[in-house]
Symmetry: C2
Subunit: 168 residues, 2 copies
Amino acid sequence: MPNQPRKPQNASVSPNRPVDLDRLDREILAVLAHDGRATYQEVSQQVRLSANAVADRIRRLRAQGVIRGYRADLDLARTGRTLTALSDVNLRDGVEHRGFEASLEQLPQVVGAVHVTGEYDYQLRILCTGTEELEAVVETLKQDHGVRELRSRIVLREVELDPTRALA
Amino acid sequence: MPNQPRKPQNASVSPNRPVDLDRLDREILAVLAHDGRATYQEVSQQVRLSANAVADRIRRLRAQGVIRGYRADLDLARTGRTLTALSDVNLRDGVEHRGFEASLEQLPQVVGAVHVTGEYDYQLRILCTGTEELEAVVETLKQDHGVRELRSRIVLREVELDPTRALA
DNA sequence: CTTGAAAATCGCTTTAC
DNA sequence: GTAAAGCGATTTTCAAG
C-alpha cells in the first residue's frame, strides 16, 4: 500500500506503562488484526469515524507500540512442512540460555521458542516435512545444542480463534 | 493501501498437494513476512525483479493459499495483558472436543488452542493482566468447560525468531 | 474530531518488447 | 520476464471550523 508510515518498525516507548485503549481503539485494532492491509477509509467505515481521525489513531497506536507492525500470514503447511511439534526441553547443566537461543538460528525448523517456568526450560515449536525430519532435529538438539531432556507432542489441529478476542 | 486484492481472504486450493517455491518466491515471502504492507515496488527492489513480475507472483502465492492474508502484529502486553501462560489441559470423560473448543469463545483470555497428542488433549495460550485473572480463568475452565486436569506454565520470555526461517 | 483540498504514490491494466 | 503509459484510488499533509 502507499504512503503508510511503515518505518520506524519499532517504536521506543517507556516500558511497563500500560496503554489504555477506548472502544474506538479496540475496534480499529480488531479490523487491522483481521485485515492488516485495510485502508484508512475501509477502517473508518467499520468504526464510524472519519478516515483522518482513524489515521491519527493508527499512527498513535503504532508509536505507542501497540501495533508492532504488519506481517503476511503464511501457511507453511502448503509448502510441505505439514508436521508441527511442540517440544518441551531441558538444558544440560552449564549450558547458557542465551547461547542456546542463539544456536537455534541454525535450525530453520524451529519457528518458535518460549522460556517458561516449571519442569522444562523452553518450549519449542518445530515445523517439519515429516517424522524423519523431526527425528533429525531432535537428535541435533541433543547432540549440538545442549539439550538434556526433550519431550515432543504432535499438533493434530490448531483451533481457530479470533485474534481480536483479547482486546475485550 | 489502494487497489490490492484483499478479498478473497481465503483461497480454496486442492488440499494436500504441496506447493513448491523457487528462490524468488521464498525471497518475496520473506519480505512480506517482515513487512506485510510492503508495496510491489519495494518488494521488487529487494528481490531484483520488476514490480509487475513481483505482483504476479504475490497474486499466485495468495491464490495458492501460501499467503493466507495480512495481519497487524499487536503487542497485547502494552495494553496491560502482561502475563502469558501455557496451559496443558485434559478434558473430562464424555466432553466433546468441538464443544469444548466452541466454549472457549467465551474466554477472551484464551488466545490460542492446539489439539495435541500425548498426555494432554490441548495446550492453551492464556493472556492475563495478572495472577488473579489467571486463577479465575483456570477455575472457570474446570467448572464450566469440562476441564479435568490443568497444568500451567508461565512464559518468562518469547525468543525472537525470524518467521522467515522455515522457508529455507 | 470533522471537512475539504492539494500533491504524491500506488495498484491495475494495457501496450509494447 | 521487462519497460512504459494511463487511469482510478489512496495516503499524506495542510488548512479551517
